[in-house]
């Protein structure tokens, strides 16, 4: 455990020394400031009669916009996770940094899990910090706060961890750039499969629905996003949403508990596969 934590600590220190933390903090402040300006404009809107728009309309619009922002944020997190994961292990294998570390009395499982843990902490801190700041700013400007924000943030982090896990497992064998690319392609496939699956459900096409369900089990990122979006929906919108919504921003149902148990198992299995592959690899 000591070695695992020491690798995680090195990963966090690298993020700090390479100015990743500072850059992410500045980018977040800029993002929140810009969106805050947008929400301020929304809250200050006037109708054709020159009177301020009804507060309920502002709240409804704010909830939709905030879900759209969360969607964009989930993409940033997924991209960031793929980027961090690829650079973390793949580039250290490529450039030879690990050649001086692995002959030490340290197991490869400790190296891979240490890097996973360090990057997971980075992603979680970034996601929690940015989301809470954004929610607070929108709440202060419009008075709107999505329900179940803790669950929503946790699901967004879980989606990013799926991406991080895929990237780390793949980067054990592929070059950094290729593993990042593979992860993004898989993310895109899962997203498309989610939309196609909704259409298949609406059209009662069972074969297609089963195929897309299989994709969402193999790459659970989109299912986790839909769960996060569902958690952010106010009760009014949930009631008004069509029974078989194909809109990824307005899912009609949340995945069952079994799906989340599956996701936890999936993470463990993919990580174990990555570790096994890493242990067998010649460097």
């Amino acid at each position: 455990m000591f070695n695992l934590l020491s690798i995680a600590s090195l990963t966090l220190r690298e993020a700090s020394r390479r100015r990743l933390v500072v850059t992410a903090a500045i980018a977040t402040l800029v993002l929140v400031a810009l969106t805050g300006f947008g929400f301020h404009a929304l809250a200050a809107m006037h109708g054709r009669d020159g009177r301020p728009v009804d507060h309920h309309v502002v709240l409804t619009a704010a909830s939709g916009l905030e879900t759209a922002m969360a969607f964009m944020f989930s993409f940033i997190l997924a991209l960031g996770a793929a980027f961090l994961g690829a650079l973390s292990l793949g580039s250290e294998i490529e450039n030879g940094t690990l050649l001086a570390m692995l002959p030490r009395p340290i197991r490869r499982i400790e190296v891979l899990l240490g890097k996973w843990l360090g990057n997971a902490i980075l992603i979680a801190c970034y996601a929690v910090g940015t989301a809470l700041l954004e929610f607070a700013v929108v709440r202060a400007i419009t008075g709107y706060l999505p329900p179940h924000i803790v669950a929503a943030i946790a699901l967004l982090v879980a989606q990013a961890l799926v991406m991080l896990t895929i990237t780390l497992a793949v980067s054990v064998r592929l070059p950094a750039i290729a593993s990042g690319f593979v992860t993004l392609v898989l993310f895109g496939i899962a997203w498309m499969a989610g939309i196609v699956g909704s259409i298949a459900t609406a059209m009662h096409n069972d074969a297609l629905r089963r195929a897309t369900t299989a994709v969402s089990l193999v790459i659970p990122s989109d299912g986790l996003w839909r769960a996060a979006a569902f958690m952010m929906q106010p009760a009014v919108l949930r009631a008004a949403a069509p029974a078989n919504s194909v809109d990824p921003l307005v899912p009609s149902t949340a995945p069952p508990l079994a799906y989340f148990i599956w996701c936890a198992l999936w993470l463990a299995v993919v990580l174990a596969g990555g570790v096994r592959s890493f242990q067998q690899r010649d460097l």
Binding site: S6, R13, E14, R17, R104
Partner: protein, 294 residues
């Protein structure tokens, strides 16, 4: 117990054997030179010893511990041929990580780090970022990493490839210092004069197979002495123990001979290496062809 003992250690990539039935025994406290052309299998063999490459077959023990085991890796230090260290850390920080993984006691860690940095001439740069170092300084730092934590076996893969002549001389002195401390050194190099000057024994590898092995004397033969006289003639004294040479020279002087020079004569390691490789492959190494052509 040997520092390194390998039995038929083999690494195959497809049908090609990078290392083929490597069997060597290296005594503790010895400086061992591992020679070979580029691509001969030296680095693959070294990587198997430190657990970076998995052998296809065969077995080995380092300091009595199984190859690749944590117990073996706890006792060795390694400088890779292609070295790269975290550029965003300082030497003190990265050596601190290595010392902590080696379970060097916290209270003696700083002293151990200062000591190795002093020995490689980087004491004044202990708190600068490694990324600001020249290639040669990074290689010196790599040697510091290899010797931190009091290893019993130090494996150096081309330790002077990025160093200037002064740096090379310092590394030679460092290797001899390690030997004086009883530490076994495995020196992987194709710089033959370097190997000849510090190694007790040598193995020559070509196409993945050991072609010759033994002590320097065994490989090069005992040195002879050529005595040159004032009239231009000379005598080659062979197979005489070095301690008897002064008496032989004195005997000539006693008989009235005018001696101009007494010079040791021995085949150089470079000549012997070329001879082994040439007889093995039937192909003259490129460097040798150029030397003779010029």
């Amino acid at each position: 117990m040997y520092a390194i003992e390998t039995r038929d250690l083999t690494k195959r990539y497809g049908s090609r054997a990078a290392v083929d039935n490597l069997t060597v025994r290296i005594a503790r406290g010895e400086v061992f030179g591992f020679l070979g052309q580029n691509g001969a299998g030296k680095t693959t063999a070294v990587k198997m010893l430190v657990g970076l490459v998995h052998p296809t077959s065969g077995d080995a023990a380092l300091l009595g511990e199984p190859l690749g085991s944590l117990a073996a890796r706890r006792k060795i230090g390694y400088l890779p041929e292609l070295f790269r260290y975290q550029p965003w850390l300082t030497p003190r920080e990265l050596l601190g990580w290595h010392a902590s993984v080696l379970r060097v006691e916290r209270r003696s860690r700083r002293r151990a780090i200062d000591d190795v940095l002093e020995r490689v001439g980087l004491a004044r740069r202990a708190d600068d970022r490694i990324g600001t170092f020249s290639k040669g300084m990074q290689q010196r730092f790599g040697i510091a990493v290899a010797i931190v934590g009091a290893p019993e076996l130090v494996i150096l893969d081309e330790p002077t490839s990025a160093l200037d002549p002064i740096g090379r001389a310092e590394v030679r002195a460092l290797v001899l210092d390690l030997k004086a401390r009883g530490i076994t050194v495995f020196l992987n190099s194709h710089l033959l004069t370097e190997v000849e000057s510090v190694c007790d024994s040598i193995a020559v590898i070509n196409d993945g197979r050991i072609r010759a092995t033994g002590s320097i004397d065994e490989l090069l033969g005992r040195p002879a002495v050529r005595i040159g006289f004032a009239d231009g003639s000379s005598v080659l004294v062979e197979d005489a123990p070095p301690a008897e040479i002064p008496a032989i020279v004195a005997a000539y002087v006693g008989r009235g001979a005018q001696i101009l020079s007494v010079a040791p004569v021995r085949q150089s390691l470079e000549e012997r290496f070329l001879e082994i490789v040439r007889s093995d492959t039937g192909v003259q190494p490129a460097l040798d062809r150029i030397t003779h052509a010029s």
